[in-house]
Symmetry: none
Subunit: 411 residues, 2 copies
């Protein structure tokens, strides 16, 4: 089942709205076993809609169109499609009843333009919309299917799930595409690709797809099989190989994130954590607490941005600060140790570095960061050298700290 | 200048990544005065890339392509475009130098696949990428322009702003669009629109465009004139009217942000600031320090996430905590006062609230937040009621705190 997704709307073209509909449809259709071959974003113009439908029908089995079904003047999809499929519009009673009820329930007057939303193409299957006033439409012509849905996300998703997917599954006897994604941190995409070069050949030779999906500081590896879950175990074994080869870098699967993963590990072990931050200035604490229920394991933090506060709040040695500087192994260790006591926690992470873009020297360039980790068993520190983008350096420091903590917890 | 935006990547088609690049490009090209006529999302396949470039070139003046320029096996855009424009690849020394420096600076080994990223089409303009290893490319054929950029957002944006927009402005003489944007915080878009209804009519009657551009917690108002800077003063007067009507809400212009604005105000007055945070858990501190040189005015923070730390670190009254709860005016005031002393600063902001989604009660629903502000002149607190989305509640609290501080500083 080859699918083309067409998103109608000027607000999408000029970037006022991000096209989350197309992404959602892509995910769901892929999970169904369909194949999205192309995505098109076009203007609310009859001419563009007509030529796009023509083109899309010739290249695919199913065309899914979102947008242009509201009650205002821009909303011409319905009229254009009726013309394309050579069918008249007539009032569809069930839809008119739905629309009437919708307005009565909200104590709002029903307008002529809303009544006209019940005027629908005679020769198509009407797809009920339980979340709004614009009905969806399913047209068929020469074995090709064209589906038209409202652009409002929760309305589109409702109709897709209740009316479209069941019909597509039946019509195309669909076998789901199977994907599994592994997440890595702390290793660059090209270095990872080179390290996994032989492994990659084996994966592809087995007929699977492999994609590297980079994000700042994170590289995702996705293996795909067109044969559904049959190859699940084989694929999971391939990914386990990666995890066993790079246990410090591989941190999770699918849509997991580091804060959630370390949260689970801390909760499992009934441990409390705090942070002492300088260059990350609260982002590490903020990320840890982005998980609901973080108060079960997160106590708090001391953000000692200035050297004065490092001395006053953490009782750090003035001499060590003078001798080694704030961005040093000695200070990272002292910060973590001091935080462990003052916050009365089981684990304390510290960060000190030069986020940039200013502040670097030849000895200590921008992007140099020390991360400290203190527990009752002792304290250690690791050195990192990032780039010159302030925001990225801070983000990379946070990810590196969380991933290091994860690895230490599970080892 | 008609533009088609082509986004290459299977991860986009299957919805693993949302297409924020296309939205950003749409916004920027529109601001430039260009016209986005269509958006296409296609697979990483040579055949698809070739036919799409062919189609796009016939329908537009400029084709902007993102994606497919990384160092792994999926990344074939460069080879495909070289073939389309009938040009060989050869090592581009400046790019090779850049790539080498990039890896040396990060203490990482340079791989063959990275060296190959410097093999670029001979007959095109190389667009320098200062943020990564994949250079951008600008091809011209029969008056049509095809631009190829990496898919990684900060790399793409960097090259667009530094290399592409200046060239497009010059080539298409795009100087006639004039925009001025004012930024508001703490007032909803529909409420703002209603308040400014008459004003809006006057603006439009003068032939200007007006757009409300919402972002979480911030509403931007942009006035546009197609006549260039001729109407600059008139437009600025219109925006001053808004500022004078809503001085608490209007905080800045264009691309300013609150951290940078309060940073300037603090620096001007030689004031030091610290924060005591509970529900925002470091995000307020992190935002303040997102500005390079923040160490001139930011001392540090105490993130007292648990009540235990509120008592131990801040010396908050156990009885007040028991009686009023952590999320109360009394505690917000005490947190700010205590922070002022312990951090030894001129200004201390405190935050305490229920970020959600759990933790709400009938008395204190999810989204309830108190913000405290202490100076040598005294301490005050303000109450806010946000929604039920954790991330948005935290973000809204930070923006509200910064904007309140801004207003207090300038009054």
């Amino acid at each position: 089942m080859n699918v083309i997704v067409v998103s109608i709307g000027d607000e999408l073209l000029i970037g006022q709205t991000v096209n989350t509909n197309a992404s959602w449809i892509g995910q769901e259709i892929s999970k169904l076993g369909g194949n999205i071959i192309e995505g098109l974003t076009i203007s609310d113009r009859a001419h563009d809609i007509l030529s796009t439908v023509d083109y899309s029908i010739s290249k695919s089995d199913v065309v899914i169109i979102t947008g242009g079904l509201g009650p205002t003047k821009d909303d011409i999809t319905k009229h254009t499609l009726a013309k394309y499929f050579d069918t008249k519009l007539e009032i569809h009673q069930p839809t008119l009843d739905k629309i009437t009820t919708y307005f009565i329930n909200r104590n709002r007057p029903i307008l002529e333009s809303n009544i006209q939303q019940a005027a629908l193409p005679k020769h198509c299957v009407i797809l009920a919309n339980d979340y709004g006033t614009a009905a969806g439409m399913w047209f068929e012509k020469n074995g090709k299917i064209v589906i038209s849905l409202p652009g409002v996300p929760y309305e589109m998703k409702g109709i897709m799930m209740e009316e479209v997917f069941p019909r597509l599954r039946e019509q195309f006897q669909l076998n789901s595409m199977y994907h599994k994604t592994i997440l890595t941190q702390g290793i660059g995409e090209s270095f990872l690709a080179e390290k996994l070069s032989d492994w990659e050949n084996r994966v592809r030779n087995d007929g699977f797809g492999l994609a590297y999906l980079p994000s700042p500081g994170i590289v995702k590896l996705r293996i795909s099989s067109p044969n559904g879950e049959i190859d699940k175990v084989l694929i999971e074994n391939y990914l386990s190989e990666v995890r066993d080869t790079l246990p410090e870098n591989v941190f999770g699967y699918e849509n997991q994130n580091l804060p959630e993963i370390i949260g689970e590990e801390l909760r499992k072990r009934k441990l409390k954590i705090g942070t002492v931050e300088s260059c990350t200035s609260g982002l590490l604490a903020n990320q840890i607490t982005s998980i609901s229920g973080a108060s079960d394991y997160f106590e708090g933090s001391l953000l000692t941005y200035s050297n004065k506060l490092k001395e006053e709040i953490l009782d750090l040695s003035h001499n060590t600060l003078k001798e080694h500087g704030a961005v040093s192994e000695a200070i990272a260790l002292q910060m973590a140790e001091s935080g462990l006591k003052k916050l009365d926690v089981d684990i304390c992470l510290s960060t000190t570095g030069i986020a940039g873009p200013t502040g670097g020297t030849e000895d200590k360039p921008v992007g140099l960061v020390w991360i400290g980790l203190a527990t009752k068993y002792g304290v250690k520190a690791r050195k990192f050298q990032f780039g010159d983008n302030r925001e990225r350096n801070i983000q990379m420091t946070v990810l590196s700290a969380l991933n290091w903590l994860r690895y230490e917890l599970i080892s």
